[in-house]
């Protein structure tokens, strides 16, 4: 029993990046009140500085060891540190890409950055969760920020409708997740993921059924947050309805956090039930790859097309996790990180072509891009090749690693299905390239961009090419993080 004297002050050192982000965000929240509307660039720079500071802290505090704190509800481990650094990186890129778009739509306000940074905090908590309670709170923190951000453009009916759908379905999914967690808590008597894993080993068959139902409900909740078929209905509508800058935010970094959530809950918490959740994940992975790749062909709106492409990528991500081996987990981690980089670049290109009063969100807006800007047409070519999985881009290695891990556990038929669906998917990525290089431009106005966006977006696309040529370092990082 806990008495005041037996309480030990928790070790705050592993959580210093979280504490820093929270403090800095609160400072930005207050400072923003005194910043005039035409000087919001100060808020923007402070937000970027926060992300840089968090990255510096995470890297300097990285020890390569697993440290628990806050009575075992928070963990700092190599996987968490690597994922967090990529969350900062991707979010910083998202902020840079969004700037002009937000200014043109009168959305360049402090709320975008404070909600965005609180969302980053939610992702960090989710990545470091070692307890079902912390995991749920991190997820809710992230989701709440994303619901509000989708609705931020108040005068747009589409955005409001998307936010409403997202909120209602998200609340339902959270309910499912909570109910599943409560059943698992009821049968194992613990919220701690490591203790749950130990308790499940000693359950008899009758109690195992309760844990199974809990696991199914937890998977339903997680599949919704990931956007895996058949819980994907919200994804195209939200991606389409939200302002593109916010679509960019919710499509990129949260996928890294969602991967961490699946790892913590399924692998660390319910690792002993691998045989059971593997079957469910196989069905979801096959359906996601099928629906994502086939329905994307019929889309005329590039945001919807990329939404369905996200669904198919989630299918591939699940392939790595369901393999249930260390190679599988590290390949899924590699996939999640590279997908976040590709998504940031892909939606960043839409932002690059958008300007005041014009959303470049139809496929035909990309027509003849090679005549308007040969350099950015080439960048888009790299991004599309990478999403399709064409060598020498990193998308190819991500798919290859995931498929290898699936073959490694004897599920060759699943790998064959994965290859077939990704070949189907190549069609709609190549169509974008065809529009850019072989069609005449409809709109010949020059691109309105700033130098920082050009540089970061080019670095993003070239980084994907570089990682494709030399995937070794990032792969080794993922293997070391899981190992």
């Amino acid at each position: 029993m806990m008495t005041p004297s037996s309480f030990e002050m928790p070790n705050l050192l592993p959580a210093v990046p979280e504490i820093f982000v929270l403090t800095a965000t609160c400072v930005i929240l207050l400072a923003d009140l005194y910043v005039r509307d035409d000087k919001k660039v100060i808020t923007y720079l402070m937000s970027l500085a926060t992300l840089v500071g968090a990255a510096v802290l995470t890297i300097t505090l990285h020890t390569g060891e697993t440290v628990l704190t806050f009575s075992g509800s928070f963990v700092s481990d190599p996987m968490g540190d690597v994922l967090k650094v990529f969350v900062y990186l991707v979010t910083a890129a998202v902020f840079v890409y969004s700037r002009n778009y937000l200014i043109a739509r009168n959305l360049f306000k402090g709320e975008f950055f404070t909600l965005g940074l609180f969302g980053v905090l939610g992702m960090m908590v989710l990545i470091s969760a070692q307890n079902m309670l912390t995991l749920y709170l991190g997820l809710e923190l992230l989701s709440l920020c994303m619901y509000a951000m989708v609705a931020l453009h108040r005068d747009s009916i589409n955005a409001t409708e998307a936010a409403m759908k997202y909120f209602v379905l998200g609340a339902l999914a959270s309910g499912m997740l909570l109910y599943g967690m409560s059943l698992i808590y009821g049968i194992t008597g613990s919220l701690d993921l490591a203790e749950i894993n130990a308790a499940i080993k000693s359950l008899d068959d009758s109690k195992m059924m309760v844990a199974s139902l809990g696991m199914v409900l937890v998977i339903v909740g997680m599949a919704f947050k990931l956007g895996a078929v058949p819980f994907h209905m919200w994804l195209p509508d939200v991606y389409h309805g939200a302002p593109t800058a916010i679509t960019l935010y919710i499509s990129a970094a949260p996928k890294i956090a969602a991967f961490a959530m699946v790892m913590r809950l399924l692998v660390e918490g319910l690792g002993d039930m691998h045989v059971q959740w593997q079957e469910i994940l196989i069905i979801m992975a096959v359906l996601s790859m099928a629906v994502g790749n086939i329905v994307a062909i019929a889309q005329a709106n590039i945001k919807r097309m990329l939404a369905y492409s996200t669904i198919s990528h989630v299918g591939f991500l699940l392939l790595g996790i369901l393999a249930g081996t260390a190679e599988g987990y590290s390949s899924a981690m590699f996939y999640a990180i590279t997908y976040a980089l590709m998504a940031a670049g892909g939606f960043g290109m839409i932002l690059l072509l958008s300007r005041s009063g014009f959303e470049a969100d139809r496929l035909e807006d990309f027509k003849g891009l090679s005549e308007r800007s040969p350099w950015f047409a080439f960048m888009m070519l790299i991004l599309m090749f990478s999403m399709a999985g064409v060598p020498p881009t990193v998308g190819f290695y991500a798919k290859l690693a995931v498929l290898q891990s699936v073959v490694g556990v004897g599920l060759t038929w699943l790998a064959v299905l994965g290859v077939i669906f990704s070949i189907i998917g190549v069609f709609y990525y190549l169509r974008v390239i065809k529009l850019m290089y072989f069609d005449k431009p409809v709109d010949t106005s020059p691109l309105e961009t700033t130098a920082d966006m050009r540089i970061i977006l080019s670095a993003n696309a070239l980084g994907i090419l570089y990682l494709g040529l030399m995937p070794g370092s990032l792969l080794a990082l993922c293997v070391a993080a899981i190992g």
Partner: protein, 200 residues
Amino acid sequence: MEQTIFYIFSTVLVLSAGAVVTVRNPVFAALFLVLAFFTSAAIWILLEAEFLALTLVLVYVGAVMVLFLFVVMMLDINLTVLREGFARYLPVGLLVAVIMVAQLVYIVGPARFGLDKFPAPPPRDADYSNTREIGLVLYTEYLFAFELAAVILVVAIIAAIALTLRKRVKTNFMKPEEQVLVKSKDRVRLVKMATEKQDD
């Protein structure tokens, strides 16, 4: 005895929860929700969780539901639109509900959570304080979760303000300091034009 009380309260709870979604008048629905919260608080008291039960009554019934009633009464809710499709979706909804209830009764029923599987804990002494125990773990063992809950509330406040606050776009008021500084050339603009040849 305890069992009878439990069944009475749970019957009221299930019926009032059902009424929340079926009654036509939204004010009644909100009042039924109050009843549902109240009966679940009673069930918590049966579980000897008196602090949580009182918090539920104070926070949800006392504060949240009163605000909710205000909102329901102030908004002009069009019932016919809300009811649209109710009959159409009823069969599917009922089917899903019946399947889920059947599954849950099978899994969470007495076969797995009966008193022989999980014996009831011995009742606590009269001087045992739940409030004290919660207080002790809330700020120590669950410190991290507690802080996170606070952050979530901050986000909720930011979101609520960001989504509803609208500044008045145009208000007509005079700025004396600008009026004093005004010069004649700010008011009158002299335009020099070339003389034009007049047509006959």
